[in-house]
């Protein structure tokens, strides 16, 4: 029983708030062995990170309180040792890397100093630490380690920063590495590289790897065993294959079913009249070209997806067409008329025909306006659309249409969950009865199960109302299920356009192929087969 490297037994953590005590995790038990990778899988709010924070003594008490359970490491209960003893274990025996390496690295110190500090904080001499840092920085694949040490975190790319975090964590050859959503903020191609690096390093050092994630693909790629958490409790434990192929708990089944990318692909290619034609649309910021000569045609009722990694110019393209950015060249024909050459008045009357849903509904809904005010504002702007006497009924209709209740109209955005908020944003876009809705990463910030629901809603609106969608996303499986046609962008340029079936089944460009290959399948067997290939 006690020969595990690390064992968590019946851990219960509670947070005391003004509203009373809230259980973050209840009776959580799991264990981790040497050389093994354990994944803790869960959506936001599931409490998946809490046990890791307890191991590292990172829970602030108060308001947190670890009121039950034990964490056994080398025969000692980590919940009973002093803060100083914890400090001596942290970084030396148990190390941790985090989701967002930019905010988790100190912005005002050189990365070399920060990496070396892991060793000097534990009393090792600085020259030896420096030597080890140079070795490790080279090992994690950063070119010119000597020079890299003198740079600041913001001077690296996201992937490089995560590599540096890994180097920092491995300085003292820890027995356990805890990785909290290590690749969530990274592009798919970078994610694949970082996960591969983690696997290699684990093989070299034999450390136990605890990986906290919301992504079934990451689990399939890396984990030996998996612990599924929901609402603060462990609902299922088992090997990755077992859990994926033979899930026992209804929650696990729901989670696996919600994973996108398995449905029937749409036919694509539309014969209806063109709604929007972009011709050589360009945008430069100062001297930096963000968008180079984009050409595409969007037909009425068509769903056109734009995919690409960060910095590919996919959002810039949409924002330029909607005139949130001033274009530097080209033309955008809306039913044959150039949007870029229109006067204010003409543009204003066309505004209502094209609406937008943003990535983060928390930020795109004014926090000080009620849902009624948010939705009816559209009619206050475009006065001839709906007479004021009908606003109330119309808001109620729209809320029902997006799957909310009519009496939600008097509430404020912060009283809703993320998925509900995105529904409100969609209702707002629908208020103007548009012919085109631009979705800028509209489902990226949502949990998988919520994501599936919102996609379903968009799907229904498409069939019922015949709205065309310009669907911007970095997540290929979502696009695969939802889009008619797909545009692939890289470095501000369109590299490939085709129907969803063409792009996903028979990609022509090497970049598209690379992008597809880097995506992770939720099935551990497929992932394993891919690794071998």
């Amino acid at each position: 029983m006690t020969d595990h490297l690390l064992e968590v037994r019946d851990l219960s953590v509670r947070f005391h708030t003004a509203a009373g005590a809230v259980d973050a995790v209840k009776n959580v038990s799991w264990h981790l062995d040497r050389g093994e990778t354990l994944a803790i899988l869960g959506e936001s709010g599931s409490g998946k990170s809490v046990s890791a924070s307890a191991i590292m003594n990172l829970i602030d008490c108060p308001p947190g309180e670890v009121w039950k359970g034990e964490i056994i490491f080398e025969g000692r209960d980590l919940l009973k040792i002093t803060a100083e003893e914890h400090r001596q274990l942290n970084g030396k025996r148990i190390a941790m890397i985090f989701q967002d390496p930019l905010s988790h690295l100190n912005p005002v110190y050189r990365v070399g100093w920060q990496i070396i500090e892991t060793m000097t904080a534990h009393g090792r001499p600085a020259p030896a630490a420096r030597q080890r840092a140079l070795e490790l920085i080279a090992r994690v694949g950063i070119p010119d380690p000597e020079h890299a040490m003198t740079k600041f975190p913001h001077e690296f790319s996201g992937g490089q920063r995560q590599r540096l975090m890994i180097a920092m964590a491995l300085m003292l050859k820890p027995d356990i590495l805890i990785a909290d959503e290590p690749t969530t903020a990274l592009d798919v191609t970078i994610q694949a590289e970082v996960l591969a690096l983690l696997r290699e390093l684990q093989a070299e050092t034999g450390m136990g790897l605890l990986l906290i994630t919301h992504d079934l693909g990451v689990v399939a790629e890396t984990a030996d065993r998996v612990v599924v958490m929901n609402a603060g409790q462990v609902v299922e434990t088992g090997t990755a294959r077992q859990v994926y192929h033979n899930p026992q708990h209804p929650y696990t089944r729901k989670l696996i079913a919600a994973a996108p990318g398995k449905g029937e692909m749409r036919v694509g290619g539309s014969s209806r009249p063109p709604l929007l034609e972009a011709r050589s649309v360009s945008k430069t910021y100062g001297d930096v070209p963000a968008l180079k000569e984009a050409n595409f045609t969007l037909h009425a009722g068509q769903t056109l997806a734009i995919v690409g990694e960060s910095g590919s110019g996919k959002s810039t393209l949409a924002r330029t067409i909607l005139q949130l950015e001033t274009p530097t060249g080209g033309e955008a024909l809306w039913k044959g008329e150039d949007l870029f050459k229109m006067g204010r008045k003409q543009l204003f009357s066309l505004r209502r025909q094209m609406q937008m849903v943003f990535q983060d509904p928390t930020q795109s809904l004014n926090p000080r306006m009620s849902v009624f005010e948010l939705i009816s504002e559209a009619w206050a702007i475009h006065k001839d659309l709906v007479p004021k006497s009908q606003w109330r009924d119309r808001v109620a209709d729209l809320l029902m249409q997006v799957g909310l209740h009519a009496d939600h109209a008097q509430r404020y955005p912060h009283q809703f969950s993320g998925g509900q908020r995105q529904r409100i944003a969609i209702a707002r876009a629908l208020a103007l009865e548009p012919e085109l809705i631009v979705c800028d990463e509209a489902v990226s910030a949502l949990d998988v199960s919520i994501q599936a629901q919102v996609i379903e809603l968009l799907n229904r609106l498409r069939t019922e109302l015949g709205i065309a969608f310009l669907f911007i996303a970095h997540d290929l499986p979502v696009v695969r299920d939802f889009a008619d046609d797909v545009i692939v962008m890289q470095n501000g340029r369109i590299v490939e356009i085709g129907t969803a079936r063409q792009i996903f089944n028979n990609p022509q460009q090497p970049y598209t192929r690379r992008l597809l290959a880097a995506g992770l399948e939720p099935d551990p067997d497929i992932q394993a087969a891919r690794r071998k290939a």
Binding site: V13, F15, T17, A18, A19, V22, A24, E43, S44, G45, S46, G47, K48, S49, V50, S53, I59, P63, G64, Q99, L322, L324, F348, R351, R352, M354, Q355, M356, F358, D360, P361, T362, Q363, S364, L365, N366, P367, R368, E377, A378, A380, I381, H382, Q410, R411, Y412, H414, Q415, F416, S417, G418, G419, Q420, R421, A425, R428, L432, L446, D447, I450
Partner: protein
């Protein structure tokens, strides 16, 4: 972390908005005490003049500099009497009117003008913005005392003129804050969403930007009220502010100064009134900073979603 544990009981609690504010105030006892003190001071300012102005100006040469804590001559003399035998308590209550009126007027004027200019500077072209900012620089580097002396030499040192002087010197504070906030808010997603709907500039400014800036301005104004009160007291203390027979607390301190070594209470009590008022304003401003911030408000709210559990999970 987007998902919120929105619970039913919180969702059902929508309007009225005043009641939660009182409940939040109740939870912070220091802020509550401050608010009560300020209400009392405001009451003195409004009603004190009507009831006590005769008592405050009636001289009683036999009671000159009579010491505090004795009620032989009546409860108005509990804090002692001044050099002309006038009861200090009555004088402090009557002086509250000028003191608070000057500070309040100056804060309101400078906030209105400063916020308007700040909105313009933050929302319009770079050139207009630069002109306004240079203007603010000039005001900032113009010593306020010099301005006071100049204005009060040209115009009689009345309450209105003092308000004008103090208001001018404080405009840059609101201007800069408003401009900085506007520059940030106009880039936020909900402003972009309004643009996509075709909202006009006026709508964006008044419907989307101003309501977000307002709480910050209100918080600063509370803090600034204290600052302006101190500035007015300094002017009156130096003899270039309000002139007798009008009184303010600052002037009372100044009038008590020659008697410091013999009758400390003459300068002490009005000074204490100033300190207590500014302290209350500071406390209230600190409370408002939390109460008006939707992200931090849960600390004061009785029922709210559980943010700390969320942050622990992300």
């Amino acid at each position: 972390m987007i998902e919120t544990l929105s619970n039913a009981d919180q969702a059902s609690r929508t309007s009225p908005r005043l009641l939660p504010a009182v409940r939040m105030l109740w939870r912070d006892k220091f802020a509550l005490a401050a608010a009560i003190f300020l209400l009392v001071a405001a009451g003195c300012a409004i009603f004190g003049h009507t009831f006590l102005s005769d008592a405050a100006s009636s001289q009683n040469l036999r009671g000159r500099n009579s010491p505090p804590f004795s009620v032989e001559q009546g409860w108005l003399f509990i804090l002692g009497a001044d050099a002309l035998g006038r009861p200090l308590l009555a004088r402090i209550i009557v002086a509250a009117r000028n003191t608070l009126m000057i500070a309040g007027g100056a804060v309101l004027c400078s906030m209105a003008v400063g916020a308007a200019l700040g909105l313009v500077a933050g929302y319009t072209s770079k050139f207009v913005s630069q002109v306004i900012m240079r203007l603010a620089d000039v005001i900032m580097s113009f010593p306020s005392l010099l301005l006071a002396v100049i204005v009060l030499y040209m115009l009689p040192p009345s309450v209105t003129n003092l308000v004008i002087v103090l208001a001018i010197t404080r405009i840059p504070v609101y201007l800069r804050t408003t401009r900085a906030e506007v520059l940030e808010i106009r880039e936020r997603m909900f402003v972009q969403a309004a643009k996509v709907m075709g909202a006009s500039h006026l709508r964006i400014i008044f419907r989307h930007i101003l309501p977000i800036v307002a709480p910050t301005l209100l918080t600063i104004a509370t803090l600034d009220f204290a600052f302006v009160m101190l500035a007015e007291s300094s002017l009156s203390f130096l003899g270039i502010g309000i002139q007798p027979p009008d009184i303010t607390w600052g002037l009372m301190v100044s009038q008590g100064r020659p008697y410091l070594s013999t009758a400390w209470w003459l300068a002490f009590w009005p000074g204490l009134a100033i300190i207590l008022t500014t302290l209350s304003l500071n406390l209230l401003s600190n409370w408002m900073r939390v109460a008006l911030d939707p992200v931090q408000r849960w600390r004061l709210e009785g029922t709210s979603q559980n943010n700390s559990a969320e942050t622990a999970n992300d």
